[in-house]
């Protein structure tokens, strides 16, 4: 080996080291040298409605709802806040964004609902299966941008939850942290992507009055749920399969790929999810939390049986939530929520008759739970 090493020329070695040094030092310097504008607004949800925390807070402050509903497109496709207010007699308001998951729901509660100064009596969170204890689900890409906007990663609860996942990632996690320390580009990436999009939009501005954010909204609307293929899982049946593909010919439900990576066991510890932190926040602010599990797309027999592990998980979840003063409802056993009521994936269709039927069913479940909390004065339910 030594004789082999002696054949390596000193010049070659220096050249290799020089190339490596340029490859590290140059980009590291550039990453620090560039100034990032602090007004990057890059968040756009899959449903095409940009989420603006300040505007949401303003609306909450102004409307002072008694009931806030947090969630993603599962909530959006199911609940119309005006209709709900009318049917329930509770002044209801949604704080939602398509594609979001538990990390962002926690931030919606902490950074939007509570910071707005509105003090709702109840906050309902719409979730699917194991969403509530799957903190890192959908925290990347456009979700990361929204998380940054809500200062998510600086929250102490965030650090508690993700400290364990960083630890669990061990050596690999430390390497990633090291890379981020050398090349601090987390803030730069959304900006770079946004600039690329901006250039493309500007190059096609001719013949129209150019309004950058208007064009983005236009694009988002063009790719919104109602334009997606029915056979594609928009929030989401397994991609590349038909909307009914998660139901076998025998009618038994196969666990769809989307949730295969999720937690299999219910873990209520503060390091495992945002769930206990949401409950703490609610307690501190005198709010009751209500967790509503939505029914995922059923089979042709309108049933959606749970796998064995999910049954055990849900029993534990319900028990723990109720022991901690939260409310729990589950629409999955409701056979009245039929297959034909679904649009794509797990979304409920926007047909008026379907929406009405759904809303009645939902209020039928939530109403008795919320009844003891209702203040004496207020509009009577319809």
């Amino acid at each position: 080996m030594l004789s082999h090493l002696s054949r390596i020329s000193f010049r070659s070695l220096v050249q290799l080291l020089a190339v490596a040094a340029m490859g590290v030092a140059g980009p590291a310097w550039l990453c620090r040298k560039l100034d990032y504008p602090d007004n990057i607004v890059t968040q756009e949800g899959p449903v095409g409605r940009p989420f603006d925390p300040a505007a949401e807070m303003q609306k909450l402050k102004k409307s002072k709802p008694q009931w806030v509903l947090i969630g993603n497109s599962m909530l959006n496709s199911r609940i119309d806040q005006e209709e709900l207010s009318e049917i329930s007699g509770w002044k209801a308001r949604k704080v939602s964004q398509g594609g979001t998951q538990s990390a962002l729901w926690f931030l919606f509660l902490k950074k939007v609902v509570l910071e707005s100064g509105a003090r709702p009596i109840v906050v309902s969170i719409f979730f699917r299966d194991t969403d509530l204890t799957w903190p890192d689900f959908r925290t990347k890409g456009m979700h990361a941008e929204l998380i940054d906007l809500l200062e998510g990663t600086t929250q102490p609860e965030w650090k508690t939850v993700f400290a364990r996942s960083d630890e669990a990632r061990g050596f690999e996690g430390r390497i990633e942290q090291g890379l981020q320390a050398v090349f601090p580009t987390k803030d730069l990436r959304p900006l770079a992507r946004r600039q690329m999009q901006e250039r493309a939009l500007r190059l096609t501005r001719y013949g129209s009055e150019f309004n950058s954010s208007g064009r983005r909204v236009e694009l988002n609307l063009r790719f919104s749920l109602k334009h997606l293929r029915r056979d594609l899982g928009s929030d989401f049946a397994p991609s590349g399969q038909s909307a009914d593909a998660d139901v076998s010919s025998s009618g038994a439900v196969i666990d769809p790929g989307l949730y295969e990576d999720g937690p299999k066991i219910f873990d209520p510890s503060p390091q495992a999810s945002f769930l206990p932190h949401m409950l703490n926040l609610a307690k501190e602010n005198g709010i009751t939390l209500h967790f509503h599990r939505i029914k995922r797309r059923p089979g042709a027999d309108h049933q959606r049986p749970d796998s064995t592990y999910l049954q055990a998980y849900l029993v534990e979840l319900r028990k723990w939530l109720q022991a901690n003063g939260a409310l729990f409802s589950d629409e999955s056993p409701d056979l009245g929520i039929r297959l034909e009521m679904y649009a794509d994936g797990d979304h409920i269709s926007g047909e008026p008759a379907v929406a009405e039927r759904y809303l009645k069913g939902f209020w039928g479940l939530a109403g008795p739970l919320l009844a003891p909390l209702k203040p004496a004065s207020g509009p009577e339910p319809k």
């Binding site: 080996m1 290799l16 550039l30 690999e172 999009q197 694009l219």
Partner: protein
Amino acid sequence: MIFQSIEYVIFLVSLLALYFWLPRREQNLLIIIASYIFYGWVHPWYLILIGITTIFDWGCAIGMENSSTQARKKAFFITSISVNLLILGVFKYFGFFAENFTAVLTSIGLMPSPWIVKIALPAGISFFTFQSISYAVDVYKGRSRACRSIIDYATFVSFFPQLVAGPIERAGHMLPQYAQRRGLNLEGMRTGLLLLLWGLFQKVVIADSAALIADKVFSLGDPSFPILWSGVLAFGVQIYADFSGYTDMARGSARLLGIELCKNFNHPYLAQSPGAFWRRWHMSLSTWFRDYVYIPLGGSRHGEGKMARNLIITFFLSGMWHGASWNYVIWGTYHGVLVALWPFLAKRVPVLTEKTGAFGIILRVGVTCMLMHLGWLMFREHSLAMLAHDLALNPFAAPVSEWRMGAALGIEALLYGLPLLVLLPLLQRLGALPQPEDPRITSWKWTALQGLAVAACVYGIASMRCDVGSDFIYFQF
């Protein structure tokens, strides 16, 4: 294991730390162990397949060479080919044929309910079986000597950089390299590192960003003509950057280990005819089909009609190689027809021949690009009903707003593709990309340029990589 992961970096660095200390035989042994770890990382049972292929083909090749009679030699040859085709048939095509067979029986009422058996498709199966088949054919035809060392042969079959998505190598190119000890070559390491980073840039910046646009468009149920074609354009950028990126990462990794892999791409979108495209795109597969299918079928030896037939059959099989699905069959046949028809068309339309000036070149490149992208539509669109819908779209029915949106999406995809589509050909044209054997590589000027190129790639990867990553498209083949 995938190239664009931290695990791979740790894996490669650990391997390199050991590799150059070892003698030749042990170097190959280490490559085999590393390759099996790489390939079996997620699904260890895949290793059984690769093990079977290796042992059978190695044994059969020696059997062929030791055979005293032609019949015996042929028997070994047929055994080797059959084992490879059986593996490919069962794991890649069984589901497809069974599905179509039951669909036909069900439609005529002979089967009350369809039954479908799903068999998991091991990654890269088409690549290593084709490499093994080429070895068996070469030994049978006397073009290669049978490899006597099982270690060298197993290295040839399993070499991890090219195992999952090629390039599909030939024994004549690889076995002599494995027969020598690889010493530490710092110049090779420099260019290898650059190739690796350039490949990574193509994948995580260009391909993954273009994929966001293509995936978006192909998830629409009601695309208009301009939006659909912006998605096809984005897919054209995506698939090129994805596959070329993989190949460059494979070549870069191999070069770090002192092994040279063949080139797989040569600016395919600058091709001036469909035939030229296939001489520039996935070159190792194109030459494989040329040598082991097209020429044995008769090639161009028996007149234009037979040549056209042979081309269509070859491309039909190439389509099938890409995937067990009707859209790939249509895609392959489409290319066969294009390549076969082009010479006839060129005779009648002079501008299609390669003898005209700049205008002709631009026109031919443009027409070829459009035809290739029509092919990409067939490749990307798995639903035949949607494909029919897409092909029937009327460009005049789309409102201006749709054209504007489509143009914006298409331009965005092209902006991401610029380094690959424009900058690289330009640099190569200027002679600015020397190979490791080029004497200029040792000069300080080239060292500085390489340093700048590495810095540009690293900066690009750090600042523009797409957070939503995806698998390499060719892994599924």
